[in-house]
């Protein structure tokens, strides 16, 4: 395994799930839970003749940032597209529940130091949603995750990280939306319906899924940032993600609450305003909205480096 310092400098996009997990926590602090040696492979794939993985395509574990325990869930997109089944779905839920229980223990054992020791959940999404080989179990697991999120609400932050090739789609798209904070690199994408399905539903003239520039304009990180759906747009290094996570770790919960996009009447009303705008405007392309929000030359935004983009971009103003 690469040294931690090297990991911090290396590409998040190119890294695998385990490297990301290690690199998103303090040096030498990560302990994998239910790692490959436990051999908890999917019981459902072998009968369908599909290859298995010892960690079922998800690295889960605990590390630290300062005194904060960091509960990490890192999906591996190379294994069946990072899709969620019974075992990895259970690992995801189990990790969030561990974090919530840890928060309760810290409240009890270190009541004065809760802010400094407050745990966090970090989820690196790389998935298209439900694993169809065990689709029903995968679907039910999604609901369990949302349920567990709600239990953590106002107690500890749940951070969504998307910086992978697969992005975050299907049911995991709304799981990502339901987190407190979203951190992405330029290559990250979040959505509900994948580009191929949109093409199938609307026709190639309306949406050409092979036009990746269009795909990125629609669901990519820059679009999410402009829309206020991505809180941190970072360079593609594991270290940049680590820094952003560390920044959130120390923020008060009240401030973190402000980074959310959904989860209260007020936030829903705000989103309804956006839906009204879109319904009235009938945008043909995300760039129509970029222009609306004050970006005079929207076509130039995709070409800018992350740093340049952050300097010049104008975003949707949130109340």
């Amino acid at each position: 395994m690469q040294k931690w310092d090297e990991l911090e400098k290396s590409s998040f996009l190119d890294a695998n799930a385990r490297q990301r997990a290690i690199g998103m926590t303090d040096k030498g602090s990560f302990t994998e839970l239910l790692g490959p040696r436990d051999r908890f492979t999917s019981p459902h794939l072998p009968v369908l003749g599909t290859a298995v993985e010892f960690d079922d395509g998800m690295v889960t574990g605990v590390g630290r940032i300062g005194k904060h325990p960091v509960f990490v869930i890192s999906m591996e997109g190379k294994f069946i597209g990072g899709a969620i089944g019974e075992v990895n779905g259970g690992k995801m839920v189990g990790t969030i529940r561990l974090a919530e229980k840890a928060a309760a223990r810290i409240q009890k054992e270190h009541p004065d130091e809760y802010a400094a020791r407050r745990p966090l959940v970090v989820i690196s999404f790389e998935t298209g949603g439900v694993r169809l080989h065990e689709a029903n179990a995968g679907l039910l697991a999604h609901a369990e995750v949302m349920d567990a999120f709600q239990d953590c609400r106002h107690k500890l932050p749940i951070i969504c990280v998307v910086g992978s090739k697969v992005g975050c789609f299907g049911g995991m798209g709304f799981v990502a939306a339901a987190t407190d904070v979203i951190i992405m690199n330029e290559q990250g994408r979040i959505g509900l319906t994948g580009p191929e399905v949109i093409e199938q539903e609307m026709g190639k003239e309306e949406f050409d899924a092979s036009n990746k520039a269009l795909v990125y304009r629609t669901t990519g990180a820059k679009q999410k940032y402009i829309m206020g759906d991505c809180n941190y747009l970072v360079e593609d290094t594991i270290g940049s993600f680590y820094q952003a996570i560390a920044d959130v770790a120390d923020k008060p919960m009240a401030e973190i609450e402000k980074l959310r996009r959904i989860g209260s009447v007020k936030l829903v009303e705000e989103q309804m305003g956006l839906v009204k705008l879109v319904g009235d405007m009938q945008p043909k392309d995300a760039m129509d909205l970029w222009k609306y929000y004050g970006n005079e030359k929207p076509e130039e935004l995709p070409e800018l480096s992350t740093a340049e983009f952050l300097k010049v971009v104008k975003c949707r103003v949130r109340n």
Binding site: L34, V62, G94, A141, A143, G171, F174, T218, G279
Partner: protein, 296 residues
């Protein structure tokens, strides 16, 4: 759907009438909240009485289409629909916020939806937020004490079912004789992707309900609490489950309900048996190192 003479697919509004006390459904009104009448037309929300008790109704309306969002019709949950559903839940919570659990109004989800809006505008604005917010609202209502009951009367497909159904305390479904469909993907698609014969997949699904389509398989996995065999029974069965859920919540046994409760039920019914073992092993492994993380 010729083969199912009595199917309820596409009949969300009829289902409301069949379930609630006659002529009690007040559309768009929840507590003091009043929803715009033409907003999110493919979802119908409002307040009705069920055996004399006020309930919030959230149903799909497959007969409508949303003229602002052309992919939203036939029961599809679009952005407006999802936010409308979320508002119905939040305002139910608000209306009863000072009441004890025993008086918090039940929320009844009448499920007949083929999916979430699969369009370009939906992705640009973030369809995922809309469905996500509805789920968070339901989870909050459930944890606040409202009994949330979902009844699948027609289609409960994949992400749309997650959004409108799977956050309920209890899920009920009409039996397959009514043409009820619960799945992520039909077996034909699974066959295409796994390159396995459909006959073989059907054979496999009898012993392992984990990928098969149908309410009976979700039942085995704990995903459906009870199957309703006669449409006339819907009203009584729903009312009985409302009472059950009140009783369970009164005892503080929230973990027996909702998604987590369905996991326990799944194990009991022999449907999903590995996940709890995996989680137990994780807990054990964490316990071994917990001190260095919690007391560092």
């Amino acid at each position: 759907m010729d083969e199912f003479d009595n199917t309820m697919i596409g009949r969300g509004r009829d289902a409301i009438d069949m379930i609630v006390d006659p002529d009690t459904f007040q559309e768009n009104a929840i507590g003091t909240y009043q929803c715009e009448p033409d907003y999110g037309p493919c979802a119908s929300v409002g307040t009705a009485q069920l055996k004399g008790r006020p309930v919030t109704i959230i149903a799909n309306d497959a007969q409508q289409f949303n003229e602002r969002f052309p992919v939203v019709f036939g029961g599809v949950i679009g952005m407006e629909e999802a936010y409308k559903m979320a508002m119905a839940v939040y305002h139910s919570i608000e209306a009863d916020k000072d009441k004890p659990i025993a008086e918090k109004r039940p929320i009844l989800l009448i499920v007949d939806t083929p999916g979430n809006g699969p369009g370009k505008m939906e992705e640009i604005a973030g369809m995922n937020k809309a469905t996500g917010s509805y789920q968070l609202a339901l989870a909050e209502a459930r944890k606040t004490g409202h009994p949330v009951i979902a009844c699948v009367i027609g289609r409960a497909i994949s992400g749309a079912f997650l959004c409108h159904g799977l956050q309920a305390d209890h899920i009920l479904a009409l039996s397959k004789e009514y043409g009820t469909m619960i799945h992520v993907m039909p077996l034909t698609s699974i066959s295409r992707i796994t390159k396995m014969d459909i006959e073989k997949l059907e054979a496999l699904s009898t012993s392992n309900p984990v990928f098969a389509a149908g309410a009976e398989f979700f039942y085995k996995l704990g995903g459906v609490e009870e199957i309703i065999n006669k449409v006339e029974d819907m009203r009584d069965v729903i009312a009985r489950h409302v009472d059950d859920v009140y009783a369970t919540k009164a005892k503080g046994e929230f973990e027996k309900l909702g998604p987590w409760g369905r996991g326990l039920l799944g194990e009991e019914r022999g449907g999903r048996v590995v996940r709890l073992k995996a989680m137990a092993k994780m807990d054990e492994e964490f316990e071994a190192v917990a001190d260095q993380y919690l007391n560092a």
